[in-house]
Symmetry: C2
DNA sequence: GATGGTTATGTTATAACATAACATTCATTG
DNA sequence: CAATGAATGTTATGTTATAACATAACCATC
């Protein structure tokens, strides 16, 4: 088990409780830290450990579904209800990495965020 | 041929000249606009038209290699030299979208940015 | 060519996100 | 205990992005 510091634990709990991506300043409020830097420092560590991820296109952070998952993840982001679907170990992502490897590109970080409408919201749209 | 407004043309030319991703405030300097909003408004339109793209993980903008390409693009971003490889019409990306479609997820925007080392920088790293 | 509607642009202020720089506290172990 | 290093705190500031409202340019049609 990984040993988190006090601040890291507070940030992780805030992410868990939210259950959806939240911004660093929302975390700041929830944790009661005095400055944003505390949040960012903790987030950096959590991301390193694979416990959290930044959603670049939302400027927000989310805790990763399973523990310590460094493997590249694709996110399906519903722009209507905000629901996030985490797609880990997706064949297509692995293949994309392989494709890049064949071009001699050495992958170190993968940002894959697909926006759209989740099944619920999509059907709701169709029926109105 | 698409008709751009004066501001849109200036921003597009700044992007073309740069030949790499640049931030909105760099564009602001180059164009001489008085405020950032002019840049963002022009960028929004250029992105709509498929002439430019935002690289979310860099907070920067780049003009797209071919004209009016709305199709999803994957970007391979070299973190060493800054070189950007635009991958259009990549099979793996299409397959990822199909995979999501089967889950009833209706894709509308695709953010795919793979960071790492390009072939040149990767070999340079190995040889030192 | 005046009228009114639409689109584009300008201006100012501020929101939202992120980091720099340095001070202090705290735990550990030699 | 003293020295060290890691974590945290504090303040300030940098960077990215948008809100809100004012003005100008364009253009059709009467």
């Amino acid at each position: 088990m990984i040993r988190l510091t006090s601040n890291q634990r507070k940030v992780f709990e805030a992410l868990e409780q939210a259950g959806k991506p939240i911004g660093a300043y929302a975390i700041l409020e929830q944790t009661g830290f005095r400055g944003a830097i505390q949040v960012y420092r903790a987030l950096e560590k959590l991301i390193d450990l694979g416990l959290a991820k930044k959603l670049e296109s939302l400027h927000a952070y989310i805790c990763v579904s399973q523990k310590a998952e460094i493997a590249p993840t694709a996110f399906a982001i519903c722009d209507h209800c905000g629901h996030i679907h985490q797609l880990k170990e997706v064949r297509e992502v692995r293949q994309l990495h392989e494709c890049l490897a064949q071009m001699d590109f050495e992958v170190c970080r993968s940002v894959i965020e697909i926006h759209g409408a989740c099944s619920t919201c999509a059907s709701r749209k169709r029926n109105k």
